[in-house]
């Protein structure tokens, strides 16, 4: 379900050369591939992997911010935060539906999440330790997600592309509320300024890691680009993010925890230091600060909800019989 090895893919792709050529020609013309259309098995697998991983990220992503709903410091912030976390549940729902159009079921996908077989964004394995982390998540994490999702909104698979268009619109609100919070607090009281600096210091590097490994270490990128699922590489998106955020954060008087960060006139890029890839792989492989907690929370909700789901099925079955 989550990708095949290189030889297997080569065999599959050689089996139906005419259909493959036709499929690739459609992508080259910018047509969308729709659920009933022919597609290579690997295209389907890669999409199920990406879309379900994305859905899981939305669902697990409810937890770090959701933990602050009861503590939000004003009614306005509280209402915004509940609505934001609610949107994430909604995004999870559209994305599971998009993956279902490829033949995956929600039960299978959830099972893959809970068993640890499916991944979700590594960023959610970090703790939210103060209220200002919600601002950092909005501006940095959602800002990074939007870059990736804006690209995916143009992807070749119709249902994923359309889900992304809608999700990006809502994510823009999420980013704006985070940006507004960080800017306001950076001009606020000493307590607020310290809180914001601490939040950015902790979230900066994990956010850069969200774009994934360097292009050279990204095994799926070649095929994904060839089939129009991705149109830009991890490193390109990461650089664009740093170019956007570095000057904006500095304008707020916030220091970015990277002594090597500097503007390069020649390339027009903000050059940045070396990412701690050991940390990246450690978190991906399940040993981040909050991996165990996040999975325990999902498992608990799943287990506590079992009797409820059983009751719904039983009620539906009884009423069908009648």
């Amino acid at each position: 379900m989550y990708g095949a090895d290189v030889e297997q893919i080569a065999i599959e792709l050689s089996e139906e050369p005419e259909k493959l050529a036709d499929f690739e020609a459609r992508i080259a013309r910018g047509e969308k591939i729709e659920p009933g259309d022919w597609m290579p098995a690997e295209y389907r697998r890669q999409l199920i992997r990406m879309i379900s991983q994305h859905a899981h990220s939305e669902v697990v992503g409810m937890l770090p911010e959701g933990a602050w709903i009861t503590r939000a410091p004003s009614l306005r912030r509280k209402l915004i935060l509940i609505a934001k976390v609610q949107d994430e549940a909604g995004h999870g729902q559209y994305l599971y539906h998009a993956a279902e159009t490829l033949g995956a079921t929600r039960e299978e996908m959830l099972e893959a999440l809970l068993s640890g077989k499916a991944k979700y964004s590594s960023i959610f394995n970090y703790h939210t330790t103060t209220w200002a982390d919600n601002g950092a998540i909005g501006w940095l994490v959602d800002g990074a997600a939007i870059l990736n999702q804006t690209m995916l909104a143009r992807c070749s698979y119709g249902p994923y592309s359309r889900a992304m268009v809608r999700i990006c619109m809502e994510e823009n609100f999420h980013r704006k509320q985070g940006q507004e919070m960080i800017i306001r607090y950076s001009q606020g009281t000493p307590t607020q300024r310290a809180m914001v600096q601490d939040a950015i210091t902790r979230w900066w590097w994990p956010t850069l890691m969200m774009f994934g490994p360097h292009d050279a270490d990204s095994p799926n990128s070649g095929l994904l680009i060839r089939w129009g699922i991705k149109t830009r590489t991890n490193d390109q998106l990461r650089q664009e993010f740093v170019n956007q955020l570095a000057p904006d954060l500095q304008a707020c008087g916030i220091s970015i925890p990277d002594p090597d960060l500097r503007y390069d006139e020649a390339s027009g890029n903000w050059l940045f230091g070396v990412i701690d890839w050991d940390e990246f792989w450690r978190v991906i492989k399940g040993d981040g600060p909050a991996n165990a907690e996040r999975m325990a929370a999902r498992q608990q909700a799943h287990d506590d909800g079992r009797w409820v789901r059983e009751a719904l099925s039983a009620y539906a079955a009884k009423n069908q019989i009648q």
Partner: protein, 254 residues
């Protein structure tokens, strides 16, 4: 209304707002932890609505008291000691299992429909106008919770047992809905409905509906505390959590 009556109505509205706020707080605890993803969405929506309604009532109370309606709600929510809240113990109780939260919401919503219908006929026009608006939103809550009560009541043996246990636990507290709200006795006729009369209509409705869902209201059990100045042991912790960040820096604009 004279000044004394305005103060009484403000007191009444703050109690209503406190109920909505605290119930919304408990509902919001489900966000990210609901039994199905669709309910993460729906229950978050209930929380949003309840907290939004609380804000409307606090604002109206501010108008009656002649204070700043922009600041009053946050002052009430984030800087009032737990002992000064006037919420019912019914809404303070921890969220429990899905049966408990759903049934509490149903019992509360069903009562709200009666109260809001009464308030929508209030001779105090600003109150009547808000009551109409809130009632329309609450009607969706009631449809949602009724659908759930039926499904869980008639679902499996386990779901029915959990619902009946939740009902038994909630009933003594739900009876508190019928007690007069603070300020109610000091208001002239026609401003707010009489709580005791609402309670009788509510009891008839929920008894019949719960029976259709295979659930039975326990007989006259001991009445839990209905005095809104007396809180459950859960309230202090709830308020401390709610106010934790705001109180880090009371001078800050959060």
């Amino acid at each position: 209304m004279n000044a004394k009556q305005k103060a009484a109505l403000a007191e009444y509205l703050i109690a209503l707002a406190d109920d909505e706020l605290i119930l919304g707080h408990r509902n919001s605890e489900w966000t990210g932890h609901a039994p199905i993803l669709e309910e993460d969405i729906a229950f978050a929506n209930l929380a949003l609505d309840e907290i939004g309604h609380a804000r409307l009532w606090y604002e109206l109370a501010a108008d009656l008291l002649g204070v700043d309606r922009a600041r009053f709600p946050d002052q009430q929510v984030f800087f009032r000691p737990a002992a000064d809240f006037r919420s019912l113990q019914l809404v303070e109780l921890p969220k429990g299992d899905w049966a408990f939260s759903m049934l509490r919401q149903y019992l509360f919503d069903a009562f709200e429909q009666h109260r809001l219908t009464g308030l929508s006929e209030s001779s105090h026009m600003p109150l009547a106008e808000i009551a109409v608006r809130v009632r329309n939103e609450e009607l969706y809550h009631l449809r949602h919770t009724r659908a759930w009560v039926t499904r869980l009541g008639l679902g499996t043996e386990e779901s029915q047992a959990r619902m009946q246990a939740a009902l038994n636990a909630l009933c003594p507290y739900a009876r508190g809905l019928g007690a007069a709200l603070p300020g109610e006795a000091d208001l002239p006729l026609g401003i707010v409905p009489e709580s005791a009369a609402l309670y009788a209509a509510w009891l008839d409705e929920v008894s019949a509906f719960l029976a259709e869902a295979g659930l039975k209201l326990p007989g006259e059990t001991a009445l839990a505390e209905t005095e809104r100045r007396a809180h459950s042991e859960h309230m202090a912790a709830l308020i401390a959590e709610m106010q934790e960040v705001a109180r880090l820096d009371p001078e800050a604009e959060w």
